[in-house]
């Protein structure tokens, strides 16, 4: 028998014994209630016996299973009030429960026990249920005789004395029972516990030194006292360090050491190896495999990792759900797997390990993975995210949406998962115990879910902070970092967005919550009032604790930071349960109580205050995505292995892997034979200052780009990655025609290519049409374009190529500035080109304003975006955007500009505009 099995069995024995110890008293109560059946109580016994039956069946303990089954039948009838419990019936049931106990404690040899008589007796009771009470008494007596006899024989066969002790009493009882009178009932009650006591004595001897079951409340009390001892020790150490008595000194250091060890040992009593949860999954996977017709193997690693009992209990359900999910949605059927070229048998690995004072649990499967495109579409339909947001999100973030409330990943509800217990419940259950959960998935390769848990809930490392002259504890698990802002950086780091404070942190904008406001402002206060006081006290912002909560990260502004301490968590009394910003209390080294802050609660509280002005809250959110406007999806590749290049994904139609023998050279131009046509192929080294490929591989990648309706290929020999990168572009160092600048990606200087510039360099004639016409159109009165774009880089780029095409371009850093320029009347614009995500006023808002103003109602608007999506387009159309173009696709944008400026003959329009102005509109 493997250790694993032994562990399960040990657990089964402990658990079943616990059940049975209650069953005895419960049965006696049922008996004393007589025909006044307490259904709840019977149900309780039923469940206890049922779970023993289930576990025994699983472990192949046939006899226990059978006996429990017969017992269960009777209980079932009782709870349906089909059977009135009489003393005889209860007798037989008690005997059965005794025998169950005996067998449980001699699991190695359950065969020696004879259960058939009891089973017969029990079944007879079950069958005679319809008989009237009197008849039942008689038959009950008969049963009793039956049972009494054979068990005596059992006794002869087995060395167990327990049965022997039970029997004489049983027989006595059987005699008194036919006329059940009141006095007999208490007699039974007195005797039965005795027999039970006798019953257990011989068995407990055999395993007394192994385990002692101690109630958790005793352990909690010990923990409490140990915590107190630590406190007293600290005070003594402090007092001793001030005195000069050397004898006291050594005594104190002894006390110190013992106390620490004691505390540790008591902590240890609460620790259990995570294997107790893990081992059951082997069976879960096996059973699910059979049910779903899937083959899967579960690998378990790190069973020995120990965590607090409370945590073990709390993670069991979430882990089960995750494993079920892996089986149900992750692992494919063997046929599908084989078709995909994977081994027919799937693989799930479950791994626990310690990392940085926390426990990590990894559930990794090699199944189908999560398709971000599907998820994205679903999230938009369910209105969890807007199309705008979806566009800005990385695939990883999209996959993380499965933890969003109201998101069921299953396309159809199945029996296995999708029972309404979504991944959001998994997440909230894990967060409840101070843990976190993350997911990473690759389509076709598999999914990895990582659960991070604290080691213990009883003692948690926390940061002590001060605010409003009180000290508070923040659990370290909630803290992602501490930020201290120098006075001179305040203006730079703290931004105000319509009264909400935001912290600029490595390119992200985090909402700030001032703890003293949260703590003192009980009621909802108006946003203006709040913002004003915030602005006034702006200079105070110094220490910011960046915390992670379910809703995301935010910065908590505190007055000062104290030490980090290991705190013992104490619950708050019942009068304080409604303080959602607090999760408990602790006692600090000096004996004072400090409250523990609940960071998700504070997040909710702060949002509540903003609820009155939903738009404020929205703009805050928009604001936090603003920085993502600066990120851009690029294709990273190398030509010569030491030279890195990036190409905007927005211009790449697709990437193909080709064999080099598909390339043909015609008249000095390389052509790629491809899908029946040939497409011109360009190599970097022929166009810009780049080293050629150092070898000639059999296969290379080609990025396919469309230029004025024709497809061309750019050789990108070695693909590295597709990444969302911050557009922090150095537009000086490497700039040449075809290279817009450089940026550092993964520590490599990477040149960002302008594919149109490159092609134009070698094939200028491909571009003449768009250019010359624009210039010719209006030499003396150039077309004026208003460009609203918040990213410096893109603004320069777009403005650059529009000016190059002969347009007069006025640029604005956001929608609000653009609007001001428009309404100032300083310029007369023919066309507006606007980015969508911008701070203060976004492109949609700007378009709405323009359309709502009669003077500009005919103004063509082209919206720019990193990646155009249909949802975007619809929203844009609704607010009056005329066209959508991709930022880096300069040819299409120029063509579009040309189209709008031609169709709307601008001289006409300008006249019209003037008329309107003179008319005083």
């Amino acid at each position: 028998m493997s250790d694993e099995d032994q562990e399960i069995i040990d657990e089964f024995v402990i658990e079943s014994n616990e059940h049975l110890s209650h069953v005895e008293t419960q049965l006696l109560t049922i008996e004393s209630n007589g025909d006044n059946i307490d259904v709840d109580l019977v149900n309780m016994v039923f469940r206890a016996i049922h779970s023993i039956k289930g576990a025994a069946g699983f472990l192949g303990l046939v006899k226990i299973n059978d006996l429990a089954h017969s017992l269960e039948n009777i209980l079932d009838q009782m709870r349906n009030c089909e059977l009135i419990p009489s003393s005889q019936i209860i007798d037989t049931m008690l005997k059965s429960s005794d025998l169950l106990t005996t067998m449980l404690n001699n699991l190695d040899d359950t065969e020696q026990f004879n259960i058939s008589d009891l089973v017969i007796a029990l079944d007879a009771i079950a069958e005679n249920k319809a008989v009237s009470t009197n008849a039942a008494v008689e038959s009950g007596q008969a049963d009793n005789d039956q049972t009494a006899e054979p068990i005596t024989t059992t006794n002869d066969q087995t060395p167990t004395e327990t049965a022997a002790e039970v029997i004489p009493q049983e027989s006595e009882l059987a005699e008194t029972i036919p006329a059940p009178t009141n006095p007999t009932t208490p007699k039974i009650q007195e005797q039965e516990p005795m027999t039970a006591g006798n019953n257990e004595t011989p068995n407990s001897e055999s395993q007394v030194e192994q385990n002692i079951r101690v109630s958790v409340s005793v352990l909690d009390q010990l923990m409490n006292l140990a915590g107190e001892l630590v406190l007293s020790r600290n005070q003594i150490l402090q007092a001793v360090s001030n005195s000069k008595d050397s004898g006291l000194d050594s005594a104190a250091s002894g006390l110190d050491q013992v106390t620490s060890e004691l505390q540790e040992a008591i902590m240890q009593t609460r620790m259990q190896s995570i294997g107790t949860v893990f081992t059951r999954f082997t069976r879960v996977v096996r059973d699910l495999g059979a049910k779903l017709n899937k083959q899967c193997h579960l690998d378990i690693e790190g069973k020995e990792v120990e965590v607090d009992k409370t945590i073990i209990e709390a993670i069991s359900d979430p882990l089960t759900h995750l494993i079920r999910n892996s089986m149900d949605h992750g692992i494919e059927t063997p046929e599908e797997r084989v078709a995909k070229g994977k081994p027919a048998e799937g693989h799930i690995s479950l791994k626990a390990y310690h990392e940085a004072g926390k426990v990590q649990i990894e559930i990794r499967d090699n199944g189908a993975g999560i398709d971000p495109a599907k998820l994205k579409a679903k999230a938009i339909i369910k209105e969890i995210i807007t199309a705008d947001q979806a566009e800005q999100m990385s695939n990883r973030d999209i996959v993380r949406l499965i933890f969003h409330p109201g998101f069921s990943m299953a396309e159809k509800l199945t029996d296995v998962s999708g029972r309404g217990v979504g991944m959001d419940v998994v997440r909230s259950n894990i967060e409840k115990i101070g843990g976190s959960v993350d997911v990473d998935s690759e389509v076709g390769v598999g999914t990895k879910v990582t659960v991070t848990l604290p080691l213990t809930l009883a003692i948690i490392p926390s940061l002590i902070i001060e605010s409003s002259k009180s000290r508070f504890a923040i659990p370290q698990t909630n803290i992602s970092e501490l930020v201290r802002i120098r006075k001179e950086d305040l203006g730079k780091r703290i931004n105000h967005v319509k009264g909400a404070e935001m912290l600029r942190l490595r390119g992200a904008l985090l909402p700030l919550i001032r703890l003293n406001h949260v703590l003192t402002h009980e009621k909802v206060i108006s946003i203006n009032e709040q913002s004003e006081s915030e602005i006034n006290s702006r200079d105070e912002v110094r220490n910011i604790v960046v915390v992670e909560s379910g809703q995301g990260r935010y910065g908590l502004v505190v007055e000062s930071l104290h030490d980090s301490e290991e705190i013992v968590v104490k619950p708050l009394g019942r009068h304080l349960l409604d303080c959602k910003c607090l999760s408990g209390a602790t006692i600090l080294g000096d004996g004072h109580v400090a409250l523990i802050l609940d960071t998700p609660g504070i997040g909710n509280h702060a949002n509540l205050e903003l609820l009155n002005e939903q738009s404020e809250y929205d703009s805050e959110h928009n604001e936090s995505t603003v920085d993502k406007v600066d990120t851009h999806s690029v294709l990273l590749f190398t030509n010569h292995p030491s030279e890195h290049f990036a190409l905007s994904m927005s211009v790449v139609q697709r990437v193909e892997r080709i064999e080099t023998n598909q390339i043909e050279v015609v008249g000095g131009q390389e052509l790629l034979h491809y899908r029946g046509t040939s497409m011109p192929l360009f190599r970097l080294e022929n166009i810009i200052a780049a080293m050629p490929l150092d070898s000639v591989p059999d296969r290379i990648y080609v990025a396919i780009i469309e230029i004025n309706g024709r497809e061309v290929g750019l050789v990108a020999p070695q693909l590295e990655d597709i990444q969302d990168v911050d557009m922090v572009v150095d537009t000086v160092t490497f700039v040449e025609a075809g290279v817009v600048g450089s940026l550092v990606i993964d520590q490599h200087a990477t040149r960002l290519l302008d594919v149109f510039g490159m092609i134009e360099k070698v094939k200028p004639d491909w571009f003449t049409s768009t250019k010359s016409e624009a210039i010719q159109e209006d030499r003396d009165n150039p077309i004026t374009i208003l460009l609203a774009e918040d990213s410096d880089f893109f603004r320069r780029q777009v403005k650059g190529f529009m000016e190059e095409a002969g347009y007069n371009v006025i640029d604005a850093e956001d929608g609000a500035i653009a609007w001001n320029i428009m309404t100032s009347g300083e310029y007369e614009f023919d066309l507006v080109v606007t980015d969508i995500e911008m701070p203060n006023m976004n492109g949609f808002e700007l378009s709405e304003k323009i359309r709502a103003t009669a003077a500009f109602s005919g103004m063509p608007i082209i919206a720019l975006t990193s990646l155009a999506s249909d949802e975007h387009r619809k929203h844009g159309e609704a607010v009056g955007v005329n066209d959508y173009q991709i930022k880096m696709d300069r040819e299409k944008l120029l063509a579009s500009i040309q189209r709008f400026t031609n169709t709307n003959s601008h001289s006409n329009k300008r006249a019209q505009q003037n008329n309107l102005v003179t008319a005083g509109v």
Partner: protein
């Protein structure tokens, strides 16, 4: 609560008496776990106004209530004579901040009269009875009502 029903054998009650402003109140001594001077409370943000704060009672975090707020009496600051009356209520220790602790009195049950529906403007439901002393009236406080009604109201 269970104490009250089982202690029928004795004919008198032992009361711990104390003042809230100048009102003399008593609660059964069985309900009182201890009396201390620990009133250096940690203020709990967002707590209901009748919660004075929490204190450390040998390792337990105990909620301290301000009965004056509950009884809608004039609220005064904590002073030198203030004491923390620790009550054991349904297994939880709860502190009551009182102005001055007076004697422990043994009062025959038959000398306790039904409380009036309203006493000095305080709702009668908070009282169990009154007893006339030589110079003043002792009011028997319904401690369960004080502690539980607040939670019920709050929940």
């Amino acid at each position: 609560m269970s104490n009250e029903s089982t202690k029928k054998s004795t004919n008198s009650l032992q009361l711990a008496t104390f003042y809230l402003n100048d009102l003399l109140l008593g609660i059964r001594i069985e309900n009182v776990q201890e009396i201390n001077r620990q009133l250096d409370c940690t203020i709990v943000p967002h707590a209901p106004d009748y919660v004075q704060g929490v204190v450390n009672l040998r390792g337990d975090v105990v909620t301290v209530l301000n009965p004056k707020v509950i009884l809608e009496l004039d609220n005064t600051d904590i002073h030198k004579g203030s004491r923390n009356l620790i009550i054991n209520s349904e297994g939880e220790l709860i502190g009551l901040c009182v102005d001055r602790v007076s004697d422990i009195l043994t009062i025959p049950k038959d000398q306790i009269n039904e409380p009036p529906a309203n006493l000095k403007g305080i709702d009668g439901r908070f009282f169990k009875g009154i007893h006339q002393l030589e110079s003043e009236v002792l009011v028997l406080l319904n401690i369960d009502e004080i502690i539980c009604s607040t939670t019920a109201e709050f929940a």
